[in-house]
């Protein structure tokens, strides 16, 4: 089997602790393009993979700022330009009134950016993934703990990678066809 036809190697681990330990060893061995799969969140796994931060906070912040400015401008436009009304002699741009709605639109757009940004950064929606070709992988949603090293990793080297996975505690290693 030539590496070119592989997406990567998928290793199964016995339990969450073994998976975290395995992920740590794989990372220490210098691999970067690998990911872990488990049915539930596992404490310490993200750190073990080397997953430290995302661009999500920035995406949400930008969404929030857009929401704040747009929300305020909408009210300004309505109350000052499009339909000016004298309410109890108050200035047309009575900003205290605009704060609650501005807050709401800030939260709304930030939340929308949060959801859509999360999907975009995760490359979703994605109907198919090479990992689905491995029958055993269906267990990742029930009782399976997996780690996949992609061939795209600079260090990926067929049997040597396979050996590393076994040494790292994998119970079984599957080929993932591209």
């Amino acid at each position: 089997m030539a590496d070119a036809q592989l997406y990567g190697l998928l290793a199964e681990f016995r339990d969450p602790e073994a998976l975290v330990d395995g992920a740590r060893r794989v990372r220490e061995a210098g691999y970067r393009r690998f990911d872990a799969f488990s049915p539930m969140p596992i404490e310490g796994l993200a750190e073990a993979i080397g997953f430290t931060r995302t661009r999500m906070p920035l995406v949400v912040l930008i969404g929030g700022l857009i929401g704040a400015v747009a929300g305020y401008l909408l009210q300004y436009w309505v109350s000052v330009i499009a339909y000016p009304l004298n309410v109890g002699g108050r200035p047309l741009n009575s900003w205290p009134y605009f704060i609650p709605v501005t807050f709401e639109t800030t939260v709304l757009v930030a939340a929308l950016f949060g959801v859509l940004g999360m999907l975009a950064l995760n490359g979703l929606p994605r109907p198919h993934h090479p990992l689905f070709a491995v029958e055993q992988f269906a267990h990742a949603t029930r009782d399976g703990f997996f780690l996949c090293i992609e061939t795209a990793d600079a260090r990926f080297a067929g049997d040597e990678t396979r050996r590393l996975l076994v040494e790292a505690g994998a119970t079984e290693v599957f080929d993932v066809p591209a």
């Binding site: 931060r53 906070p57 912040l61 109890g88 009134y97 704060i99 609650p100």
Partner: protein
Amino acid sequence: MSAEAVRETIARWQRGGLLVAAVGVGLCALAATVRLDTLLESYLLGFLFWWMVSIGCLGVLLVYYLSGGRWGLAARPFLECGAMTMPLAALAFVPIALQMDRIYPWAAESEHTVASADASPAEMTSDAGHHIPPDVQRLYLNVEFAQARAVGYFVLWVLLVLAFCLRARRGPRRPRGRRRLAAVALALMILTCTFASIDWGMSLDPGWFSTIYGALIAMGGALAGLAITTAAAASLQSRTPSGTQLVVPPTLADLGTLTMAFLMLWAYFAFSQFLIIYAGNLPEENVWYITRLQGGWQWFGLAAIVGGFVVPFGLLLSRDLKHNPRWLAGVALLVFGMQFVYLAWTILPSFRPGEILVRWTDVVAPLALGGLWTALFASLLARRVPEPQPTTEDS
């Protein structure tokens, strides 16, 4: 050795607090001989702030007992020590209780108008359009009743402190019973806190009322209490290099997040009071804000909003900052300090409407009380903090 550094830091807080208190009390004694009335204004401000901090610590502690959560494990000893300063607040109230007629207009009024039994109609209209006749108001706002209420509040709060800071710690672990008790205690506390805020703060303008005033004071206290807790925990954590079990690092960031949530809730309360009065624009309500938005007081208020909400809110958005104990302690101290500035903005213009006027005692008297508070807090903390915190307890 890191435990030594922590103990040394706490001892330094204690010494510093005592020093500030000694100098402050001396200066206040001097001021008392010159202008007692002015000193009492400043002293009331100081009392209100440090009482808010104490009651706020108690409130947050009760919330923790009610809700549970990992954040509370690290915060608990600090909150307990903060709440256990309640007897100091009770003691600090004594001068106010004895000098009410010099501080509160309603107390001063009752002094001379009680003698001339029936209040003149002129007096009723003079009081900026409020609809409660002074003689009816006096049924609640009179010196004897106010003193009796204060005794009642403090007895209740001290009992709560005894129950939740001393007994709950030692007692048998019955988390469900304690949780139920905490729910009752929290309800009682918020109720008495509302009445106390009306008695001690809102009644400075007897004609003015705001239904959210008590909640705003309680919230400000909870925010200040949580902020000083976070600041103390973070600065002690920053002095333990090896990351010992004083504060589990993720919990410290949680305290930062919680401080931010409290900050937002407080800002929401403060803003809704303003918005409702602004929208209603009724003369008996808006006069309070008009006093505070002219003659230079508006800059004071603006500083309180920018420094007390905008800046710390922006900083607390950062995840990196919350994971850095030094920075977190700094921001928490900013929140704490600005809460005092906001309180000063709500209290002082009642005494000095018109042109802005801040006297040196406005800083010194609260600092003197703060020194005492800090010294007591540190001496309590010295006995509680070194206990290693188990990371897996709780519900």
